[in-house]
């Protein structure tokens, strides 16, 4: 089936099988391998992308469901090739990653969280990232990175 999706601002028209999951469309068809597949059971959040600005687990959405929608992946977040998005920068500044596997999903979920709640409490950040698992258990610095990105003092 022919779908037309705006991915990171660019219109993409592709022929996909209806059963193709969004994450495999992004990775295999468009080559956007920044989005990781972790658990593949909608638990871990590694595959989180934005659909029309909201965080979504792309392993639990069909590519055909994204037809006519706007998708943003981790590759589309930074304003330019030599500049990081403030959330990416904050993850770097606060050592919000260890192995890095959960990071693209964490960053996308964190951006969506701050869109909905620009100045969350620590508890709200922890709850807001409930859908993302870090198997290095590096949550403390991830939470710190999100709080810092929201302009709050984490020193």
């Amino acid at each position: 089936m022919e779908i037309s999706v705006t991915v990171n601002g660019a219109n993409q028209s592709s022929e996909v099988e209806p059963r193709t999951l969004l994450v495999y469309y992004l990775r295999d068809e468009l080559g956007l391998t920044g989005t990781n597949v972790g658990c593949d059971t909608s638990s871990c959040g590694a595959c989180t992308v934005h659909v029309n600005g909201e965080s979504v687990k792309s392993c639990t959405m069909l590519a055909v469901q994204a037809d006519g929608q706007e998708v943003t992946t981790i590759e589309g977040l930074a304003p330019s090739a030599d500049e990081l998005h403030p959330m990416q920068q904050s993850f770097q500044d606060n050592h919000g990653l260890q192995c890095g596997y959960c990071t693209p999903g964490m960053v996308m979920a964190a951006c969506s969280l701050l869109d909905e709640n620009p100045s969350p409490s620590e508890a709200e950040v922890r709850e807001g990232l409930e859908g993302n698992l870090c198997r290095c258990t590096g949550y403390h610095n991830i939470v710190k990175a999100v709080l810092a990105c929201s302009g709050q003092d984490v020193s």
């Binding site: 089936m1 099988e17 209806p18 059963r19 193709t20 999951l21 495999y24 593949d40 059971t41 909608s42 638990s43 959040g45 989180t48 659909v51 909201e54 965080s55 979504v56 687990k57 639990t60 959405m61 069909l62 055909v64 469901q65 037809d67 979920a109 969506s112 969280l113 909905e116 807001g128 409930e130 859908g131 993302n132």
Partner: protein, 275 residues
């Protein structure tokens, strides 16, 4: 995991969706947010040969004030329920329970109608709606019918919806004020409730429902009767597991679930001030 192959059809209206499911019978499934169906398809627990995508039926996402009740379009997302000013003021229990479903990503996609039609006894929203009472509107080839919430959940993942019917609207009574509470007991973030209890005062009566205490969401009628008879919250809560057949799984035995139901019911009644 990739679902088995299927034909994908997009419906632009409820009528079109109903015509498509009527044409394909039990081979077809309606797809709304997909957050119950797609995981089941990936695990091959559901293998529909036709998916009818109704997410584009835009006029079913409303949350409307209808004087004596609130009408919610079946495609309203959990996130819209959670943030609806109307629900927060007129039916805070439902807004709160919507905020406890899964995680933010799930709530951005999942729909109220999808959750109810899926009829998972371990889900939060079926029990929320059951506690509130009210009715559901099903549309079929011969028009609409209204089903009382009490008659909707008929078995394990089974509802009163016929094969060629689509759930279009949920009508819940207003239950404003602070006399409500939801206790969801689980051990890990984003898990289903091992047991959950919703308690709410609706037009002067205390109504209590149980999550994951049987093959359907259940009203704790023995608790409600005890309260109506003047029992205290603690006394009434002792009856929470009466008449239930709780499931057994890796998380809990039936005995443990019964214990949880009693404790959580007491907490819900006391915290909600609905005794």
């Amino acid at each position: 995991m990739i679902p088995a192959a299927f034909d994908y059809k997009k419906a632009d209206s409820a009528e079109e969706a109903i015509a498509l499911i009527a044409e394909h019978g039990d081979e077809a499934k309606l797809l709304a947010g997909g957050h119950s169906l797609i995981p089941m398809m990936k695990l091959r627990l559901a293998v529909p040969s036709v998916l009818v995508d109704i997410a584009g039926v835009n006029d079913l996402s409303y949350i409307d004030d209808r004087d004596d009740h609130i009408a919610i379009g079946a495609l309203a997302k959990h996130r819209s329920l959670e943030t609806s000013d109307l629900l927060i003021s007129e039916c805070p229990l439902l807004a709160h329970i919507a905020s406890k479903v899964g995680d933010p990503q799930v709530r951005h996609r999942g729909t109220l109608g999808g959750s109810l039609a899926h009829s998972d006894p371990a889900s939060d929203l079926p029990a929320a709606v059951l506690a509130l009472g009210g009715s559901l509107v099903a549309q079929g080839p011969n028009g609409e019918r209204e089903i009382a919430v009490a008659d909707f959940f008929t078995g394990y993942f089974e509802s009163a919806l016929a094969e060629d019917e689509m759930l279009t609207e949920v009508r819940i009574p207003k239950a404003p004020g602070s006399n409500w509470n939801y206790q969801k007991f689980n051990r890990r973030a984003q898990d289903w409730a091992i047991v959950g209890v919703a308690a709410v005062e609706v037009q002067g009566a205390t109504q209590v429902s149980l999550v994951n205490m049987g093959s359907t969401p259940l009203r704790a009628s023995a608790v409600e009767a005890a309260l109506a008879g003047g029992a205290s919250a603690a006394e009434a809560a002792e009856a929470a597991a009466e008449g239930t057949e709780p499931p057994t799984d890796l998380n809990a035995s039936p005995e443990y679930r019964s214990h949880l139901a009693r404790v959580l019911t007491r907490r819900a009644l006391e915290a909600g001030g609905v005794s």
